[in-house]
């Protein structure tokens, strides 16, 4: 049970406090309600590039990292298709340093040209390192384009192409900041060795005077229901053929999400899962096979992907996957199998919640979803999924007309 206090400042900044006195550290987590889905299709990768610029100095503080490190703190950040999150771990004695730094960059960035010039290059190297200079590095760019025709989930957070990052201007940076990085679009979570009264006083002191900004109203085109199966064949200089398939799944907070999440565990969540046992161990058609999703806030992609054993024909491999899915759909799952994946989920949540940082991050996420209490209800939601519900979800999910398949073939 993660306990927390919650309050709002008059400028709309939401503040949550989770106390854990067993640690000497404090965690400061600032989540902004903006991700790659909020980007202009001709300026993709911007939310992530912007995350880099948040470390390039703010209006009153030329350097963000130095004073934090001087106070014994560490920090990092990430951007997803849905949101952007910044987090600090710092000895509790020096908590105020984090307030000072985070509030100043929420007040305003320095908008330094040098920082933009350098970070454009850094992000281009990140793009190359992960998506150009790696075998299969383009597979997910292609999959997103195949699966989403309308919704901005059709591009990755790194962006569609290097050019979009190279062309970003200081004007873009400014307007993005004042549109999205306002108190009214942000959530501040304090966790660890902190107490609510002191946090409230510090939050008022450092964040209270920041102009609230305008609430960002998201107006994203929704992906129409897919009507027929889509297929794509790619060829590249890769050593092995690879198979990628996605199905459109439920949004993170939807009821069906929990059944679908358990389903992914049943299919490939370990050495006793169905696809692994049948296709890697028994039939030996794949050298590895994974089933996963990204927990996307809006309807996401339920994914099956794997690399084929050399010499196995793609058609044979694909047929074998379909066969396993059909067995599941026809025969259903046993009570024991369902209990197994629920137990795994219970364990996963317990391990995740060991870290104060994870707890802070989760709290911010559920607050962003408008339901902070949900953090303590997740396990019950998984426990409540019945075999019938799970099978219903599977039937709806695994329809051929809902499938996007890429055959990634070696040259």
């Amino acid at each position: 049970m993660v306990k927390f206090d919650r309050f709002s400042l008059s400028n709309g900044l939401r503040v949550l406090v989770h106390r854990d006195e067993t640690t000497p550290m404090a965690v400061v987590n600032v989540m902004y309600d903006v991700g790659a889905r909020d980007e202009d299709p001709s300026k993709t990768g911007f939310a992530h590039l912007f995350e880099h610029l948040m470390f390039g100095g703010s209006v009153n503080i030329p350097d963000y990292d130095e004073p934090l490190q001087m106070a014994g703190g560490e920090n990092n950040a990430y951007t997803t298709n849905d949101l952007t999150n910044y987090y600090i771990q710092i000895p509790a004695e020096n908590l105020e340093t984090a307030f000072w730094l985070e509030s100043d960059r929420m007040l305003s960035l320095a908008f330094s040209k040098k920082s933009l010039d350098v970070q454009r290059k850094v992000v281009c190297e990140e793009f190359k390192e992960h998506y150009i200079n790696k075998p299969y590095g383009n597979a997910w760019h292609e999959m997103r384009r195949l699966a989403y025709k309308v919704h901005p989930y059709q591009w990755m957070t790194i962006g569609k192409e290097l050019r979009h990052i190279e062309e970003a201007t200081l004007e873009d940076v400014k307007s993005f900041f004042f549109k999205h990085y306002r108190p009214v679009n942000a959530i501040l979570v304090l966790a660890g060795n902190v107490d609510s009264d002191r946090v409230l006083a510090l939050a008022e002191k450092w964040f209270g005077g920041i102009p609230s900004g305008e609430k960002y109203i998201r107006n994203i085109p929704q992906e129409p229901e897919q009507q027929e199966e889509r297929k794509l064949e790619l060829r590249a200089d890769v050593p092995l053929d690879a198979f990628y398939r996605t199905y459109h799944m439920g949004a993170r907070m939807s009821d069906v999400y929990y059944a679908q999440d358990l389903l992914s565990e049943i299919l490939s969540g370990g050495g006793s899962s169905r696809l692994f046992q049948a296709l890697v161990k028994e039939k030996q058609l794949f050298s590895n096979i994974d089933c996963f999703h990204f927990g996307s806030v809006e309807p996401g992609l339920f994914t099956i992907q794997g690399k084929l054993v050399q010499g196995v024909a793609m058609e044979v491999a694909e047929k074998a996957i379909d066969e396993q899915l059909n067995i599941l759909l026809q025969d259903g799952i046993s009570a024991e199998e369902l209990e197994k994946v629920k137990n795994k989920t219970e364990s996963l949540i317990a391990f995740e919640d060991m870290s104060v940082m994870n707890r802070a991050n989760s709290l911010a996420f559920y607050e962003l979803m408008g339901e902070p209490n949900r953090m303590n209800e997740e396990l019950d939601r998984y426990q409540a999924v019945s075999a019938n519900e799970l099978m219903e979800a599977a039937h709806h999910l695994l329809r051929p007309s809902n499938a996007n398949t890429i055959h990634y073939l070696k040259n």
């Binding site: 854990d20 067993t22 640690t23 000497p24 550290m25 209006v59 009153n60 503080i61 004073p67 490190q69 001087m70 106070a71 014994g72 560490e74 710092i90 000895p91 004695e93 020096n94 000072w100 509030s103 007040l107 350098v118 970070q119 454009r120 290059k121 850094v122 992000v123 190297e125 990140e126 190359k128 390192e129 200079n133 790696k134 002191k205 450092w206 200089d237 050593p239 092995l240 370990g270 050495g271 006793s272 899962s273 890697v280 161990k281 030996q284 050298s287 590895n288 209990e339 197994k340 137990n343 795994k344 989920t345 364990s347 996963l348 317990a350 391990f351 919640d353 060991m354 870290s355 104060v356």
Partner: protein
Amino acid sequence: MLNRKEAPAIIHTSSLPLHLKPCNKSTLHNNVPVYDVMGGTQEVVQVEWVFRAGNLFESKNGVAAAVSHLLKNGTSTLNAFQINEKLEFFGAYLNRACYNETAVVTLSCLSKHLPVLLPLIRELLTDASFPEEELQIYQQNAQQKLLVNLQKCDFVANRLIDTYVYGFEHPYGKYLSAEDYAHLQRSDLVEFYQKYFQNGHCTIFAAGLLPESTSIVPLLNQYFGDLPLNKNEMNFVWPAPSRAQEHKYSIVNDPNGVQGAIRLATPMIGRKHPDFQKCLVLNNLFGGFFGSRLMSNIREDKGYTYGIYSYIQNHLSQDTAWMIATEAGRTVCDATLREVYFEMNALCEDLVEDEELQLVRNYMMGSILGDLDGPFHIIARWKNIILNELNESYFYESMDTIRSVSPEDLRNMAQKYLQPSSFYELVVV
């Protein structure tokens, strides 16, 4: 009026008292040592069995790693599927990892399930059967994974740089080829398992929060206290490294590559050398964290790379290496190398300013403080101390070094260990 230009007062982290929570040491009936740190906020537990069964002990390339990987792929009564199903039914994770000196089996689970899982672990450690078919699947899939990895410049660079420093015959320098995997035989695995697991040398580390009615040592004694382990002292005997003559290498692995994996390495003293702890501070200053000289210059000023780090390899022997690693744009690899040497020379020539050194001290202490959070992290610290045959005072000495090392000390260390001419240099595109 709030003055935002002025930083709030801080307490220098380096002045904070820092305590390493003690760990209990016990001995099972068969002399297997057990170290435990119990406590925490979540009812989870982790038990690690550390065997002296790393690749140092193998007489054929790849045997140690294969044994470690296939430990849970069959016993005389259970097949791989049944073993996995048992583990997963209780939401447990069983990781196996093979290093140079040790092979580590780690069980992580909810505390309430520990008593039902330990008999299974006993079975794996006493009765693993290494079925032919499991070995064959392992060989095939490991070869395929290798094929994919060999296309990656960073993977290729990581393998090669170690061979320059230690030689291919040394456990730290060797790596596996597709042929090595193909040549593995079941009898190799069985023999290694008998010698280094069934009749091997083991140390157990446990951490987590158990119900009050349960204590860890009696439980471990029940399932592991009668095994024929730790009969003889087994000491590590490392071969002498055989260093490469040539110092500079440039390799084109992928003609279309857009980045180069850059590695620089120089032979380095081990943990027990009196200079080692000072060098750890110097390493932080040089390339050990985001605010380091290398990162500030090569990423944050020039934008040549997404990240650049230096580190001292954590080897149990006193033979180790100081390493610098980055992936940089293909056209700026030479410029990146120039800047790395520039930073080395600066450390050799100039004294670090007090403020920068204070920052490094505070950062390191803050990082250690954060790292001692919770029983799993604390036992990891202890494990490192114990496997390196050090003691608690080593931890406190290293804290003292962080607090007290002087700019002159650091320059001396740089002059001694960061000589550009002693580095092996490799770029793989």
